[in-house]
Symmetry: C2
Subunit: 476 residues, 2 copies
């Protein structure tokens, strides 16, 4: 294998690679990222099969994810080769004595990357953190996900081969099996973050996991930045105009149900709370969404543990005062499938705004959502009561002056709390583009200014250096 | 007084102001910053006199600093009014369904600002952190410096008046006397950082102080970013060509001595370590610089404590093995002024590269420097052995191929370790411009990607939000 398998060796190799790889031209880095994409594509069938076995995601979904991941690698490579990731500020003659001042960007050094389980490719070993760190000129030490040991390792072999083939210094791509510390993967994670060779961290996962890495990084003799994306409930606010007719209700009930149940709801942008007007129309939308969700057959979840957590959340939610559960609605519709083994039964609970407390405000990772009946006049206050979010969504009738006016009042609260505001859509499906902001205030992420999706993610791993009068031809 | 004087009241008022002030147009914020500048200028004579009494800095220096500070306020206001602080990324038709995605920036909320003592204006109560936070749309709660109680308070009154006059919500500008917790200013600092209303921190000062604020911020239930600039030794590398003739040696001995002794060396960009070639020419430069520094009369320091620390450092440095102290050289030249009270005697120590260890690598805040004789071929390795720096400087003969070649080898190490690289100049005198990067890797700062000087400082206090298909006319 072309990577080191123990922390100390991988970290030392990454530290040794940081200088030479960091000095690579952007064109060479582009070529390396394209080579990684090519290698993944060449191994696509084998990787999708491994992923299917370890994730229970469908081959179609996994195949699409490989395409997204290779597209991401190529895009980030093209982006740096075009110099679009650079801060590139210039102040002519600005220094004392009249010298020019301008910025260049330098890579931070080795980045620890933690593969997420819900996107085994796009946020896994070859995902956005790996792609953006390599694009920035930083070696990576990637820890595989414990739920996907074979897939993680095989992807690592493929990438290590491509990186070596591209001529990168040994240590540019490092990989650690999640199991390499005898069944205590959290210990390895903390040790990786504490290792003095590591200069930044990329993580997508649970709040608890992200916070543990942040605490470890902050307590180092040399604190380092942790870019942790820890999920959120992604509130949706439905305005009255959007559900004034049957067509609108059907359209949005269908779109919301698909967003809640797609990928078994195991997406950090799944709409986990949907505010609907406490009117007849709003209740009709709620009932239609609940029915569609409850009508969806059980879906295999990523792990048995996640399925168990989903079942436990459903029991807790259904047992809470004020809850009208989809299980009941589902039974009425003859759809009481129940749950078994690693399956998650899609599920929604309807409550009144006065009961929107406790668990209902916490992210639940699975095919479930909370529908909250509320007076639309209260939406801004409800939005203001939420924690930081990756996304917030408004569903409205574009042509309704009443909806537009309500949106005008609501939007400031959403901008104050979310990293992305979606209009008449669903928050799932994060476009990998320059303007994407997949981030958000605490506790959605650890660094609200940063994004983990889109080309701006590269900037997390560089810092500007001001050049003052330095002859440009001496800068390599 | 127009500001609240207790932490809880100031923080609550800032929290209440965050929404309405954050919604102000950039033009209104520009007008507010200009009004602050106007008010400081109107009170200039009184403020300079207060500052002179509490800092021992010269009226000329203080007068210039007021001009820099008011220029900074106006520049930051103009910058936001022109929209130049915005991330403003756009991806047309990029979202699922074809909606546009683009970014807008929103302010983080109330910012805690800690006034530094060495620039009572430019980094004090009305300094860069206050200016950039207000420009970003964030209320500030500023803690005055304990060594400048009267000046801090008077500036706060002037600013609070201007902010109120500009129509800003109460709480937009808050101020805390350093003394308001009965003589334990550190307790107040930590409490301010821990206060849940505070969403970011700006600090310029000691490593110890900065680290304490970082630790407090990282341990909060909601961690917040701390932008701490904690100083450095600002290494200077003199290449052989620059000192090959008497004129070069005189020029650079004079420039370096001025940079070491100006403002009594109490600048975070003071050159604290100067590497000179271990040749006859290099030693001649070292001797000339030492003599000029030692010939400089004692200079009043900011506080008696700083003068005592300077004396103690001088004694320690002079007593270290391998040191040839300026005191000895000074005695030879009949300049043994000694030190008394709050005065700091300019001082340089010469050592060989092999003795460049321990204290010599630590920042010393005062009119002193360490001159290190080294083989220029060893410069890259010496640079590589340094901690993160605000600046690194190369002094070379532009026309010498030998110097250019040496610089080519040296520059990568400097870019890897510093926030700014100066060519044929001195690092003191930080231009307040768009391309300035006054930052650098740990331990120079807490956030290497950020700058505390220049218009880019504003970006520390905003975060991007992606708009996905949101009708632009609804965004206020």
């Amino acid at each position: 294998m072309a990577y080191h398998t123990t922390l100390d060796r991988a970290a030392a190799a990454a530290a040794a690679a940081a200088g030479p790889y960091g000095a690579w031209s952007a064109e060479r880095r582009r070529d390396l990222l394209h080579a990684c994409a090519d290698a993944l594509e060449a191994a696509r069938a084998e990787l999708v099969e491994l992923a299917r076995a370890e994730t229970a995601l469908t081959p179609e979904r996994l195949d699409g994810e490989v395409a997204r991941t290779t597209g991401q690698l190529r895009l980030y490579g093209d982006h740096v080769a075009a110099g679009r990731h650079l801060s590139a500020r210039t102040s002519k003659g600005a220094a004392p004595g009249g010298a020019d001042v301008w910025t260049v960007d330098v890579p931070l050094g080795p980045v620890a990357v933690f593969a997420a389980s819900n996107f085994p490719f796009a946020f896994g070993v070859p995902g956005g953190d790996t792609a953006s760190a390599l694009a920035a000129g930083c070696p990576v030490v990637v820890k595989g996900h414990p739920a996907q040991p074979l897939l993680s390792r095989r992807i690592a072999e493929v990438l290590a081969g491509a990186v070596a083939e591209a001529g990168a210094p040994e240590g540019t791509f490092g990989f650690l099996d999640a199991e390499s510390t005898e069944g205590d993967p959290n210990k390895l994670s903390i040790e990786l973050v504490r290792h003095p060779a590591i200069k930044a961290v990329g993580f997508t996962g649970s709040f608890r996991g992200g916070r543990a890495l942040m605490d470890a990084a902050a307590a180092r003799p040399e604190p380092i930045p942790v870019y942790a994306e820890m999920g959120s409930v992604n509130p949706v606010f439905v305005l009255p105009g959007a559900v004034a007719d049957e067509a609108g209700r059907e359209k949005w009930a269908s779109a919301l149900a698909a967003a809640v149940t797609g990928s078994a709801g195991q997406l950090c942008t799944k709409p986990g709370v949907v505010f609907v007007p406490d009117t007849e129309d709003g209740e009709a939308l709620g009932a239609a969404a609940v029915a569609r969700i409850a009508d969806t057959a059980p879906i295999p979840m990523l792990t048995a543990g996640m399925a168990a957590a989903h079942r436990s959340w459903q029991e807790r939610a259904a047992g809470t005062a004020g809850a009208e559960s989809a299980a009941e609605v589902g039974q009425g519709a003859g759809q009481s499938d129940g749950q078994s083994g690693g399956q998650g039964k899609p599920f929604a609970v309807q409550i009144s705004a006065k009961d929107f407390e406790g668990d209902y405000r916490e992210e639940h990772f699975g095919p479930a959502t909370v529908i909250v009946r509320a007076d639309p006049a209260e939406y801004p206050a409800l939005a203001g009561s939420l924690e930081g979010q990756l996304t917030a969504t408004v569903i409205a009738d574009d042509g309704s002056e009443q909806d537009r006016s309500a949106a005008r009042s609501l939007l400031p609260s959403l901008l104050a709390r979310a990293g992305r505001v979606v209009w008449n859509g669903v928050p799932t499906g994060v476009a990998v583009v320059e303007a994407m902001q997949h981030g958000g205030p605490w506790p959605a992420t650890s660094a609200a200014w940063s994004t983990s999706v889109g080309t701006e993610a590269i900037r997390r791993f560089v810092r500007p250096v001001a050049m003052q009068g330095v002859p440009a031809d001496l800068l390599g």
